[in-house]
Symmetry: C2
Subunit: 249 residues, 2 copies
Amino acid sequence: MRNLKFIISYKGTAYNGYQSQPGGNTIQDTVEKVLRSLLNQSVTINGCSRTDAGVHAIEFVFNVKYDEVLSSIGTDGLIRGMNGLLPSDISVVGCEYVSDAFHARFDAKGKEYLYIVDCSRVRNVFSQGLALSYPYELNIEKMTEAAEIIKGKHDFAAFCKAEAKEHLKSTVRTVYDIRIEKEGGFIRFYISGDGFLHNMVRIIVGTLIFVSEGKRSLDDVKSAVKDGKRDMAGKTLEPCGLYLNKVFY
Amino acid sequence: MRNLKFIISYKGTAYNGYQSQPGGNTIQDTVEKVLRSLLNQSVTINGCSRTDAGVHAIEFVFNVKYDEVLSSIGTDGLIRGMNGLLPSDISVVGCEYVSDAFHARFDAKGKEYLYIVDCSRVRNVFSQGLALSYPYELNIEKMTEAAEIIKGKHDFAAFCKAEAKEHLKSTVRTVYDIRIEKEGGFIRFYISGDGFLHNMVRIIVGTLIFVSEGKRSLDDVKSAVKDGKRDMAGKTLEPCGLYLNKVFY
């Protein structure tokens, strides 16, 4: 058996998220189908995380174990073959052999997400599905102050989808950094951490926007981070602005 | 009767071009349908030009005459109403009353097109449909030399779709300027002129790319511009990279 590590990029608009589903039409199902035909065997890929329907990935990592007796294709052949067979909204960026022990999810030390907001006053037809359309100004200074409160190790229960919490042993996570960058009419939020709860990035950015709008105060954000009260945080933003940007190993 | 000038932006991916067709699903059909319901009357819009299927517009201009007795809606109401009713890939950028004499096509003094090439080595899933994917390097210096030959007043017969030529009195046009800009992995070609033949921009950029690849020499380009021989120019590039950027009045 050999173990391969892949990096792929995908536009999630047309998919029901990453994770395999009985109905298919997920990133995992699509990739496994192509790998099955190239490796001449049934395979299951281990993704670094799940992404929701409509969420994108710039660098998503997965690993896959396969029996090399059934397939002699090398990494270059795999990259070319996959990019030839995959639909145009999924692309293989890299592929390398790794030790048997490597697991894309269990070995991940952290991740960085990117959330893009398009502040164009007029609906920008070219960013639809690729950014949240928010046709107003955002107060970067106020959002940066709120981001300072969110950074660090906290119980992020207030920043988690309600149904997801029940299955978790702990909702304590560490946010390493939140960078807010303005470029033209776009604002980009880069958020890195050791792990993320379901919807955590979309709620963090939603909270920063509520702070910009005056709907939440800095004290509300402190309380959200301290007491875990969901209503002290902001709303869950649309998935279309969210990108898994990097996985750290 | 009043005369309104509109500026719209659209992503052409899902449409059979600008110009109305019996089958519908064109930009013109879609816009006229929405205007009809807001103005309470049947209207025909005069577009500044035609764009092919898959071609985009950043600022497309049209005018429309309507009977104000049947409709009391103002320009602000029209912008809001249209942006509410139009699909998300068409957006109204501006709207103003103009003199009765104004005609979006006949009064246009010139236009600027933009052609975007994505030179990412790995297929960029986020630019699909919005740029030509060309995963190689382009020689900007050589292309700039060729662009200098193309600029100016010439018989552009070599840069025109064959079937389109038969209906034209003249294929002489003036290219005011060709600007080539590199930004990240993207190369942007801005081409302005007093008028453009069918496929002219896509063939000009195709010729520049052939020059970069060494498939055409500068002498070939001179000959294309002088003798109108189609095979001295380059190939017609895909529509997805093309944008109508601006119309001059």
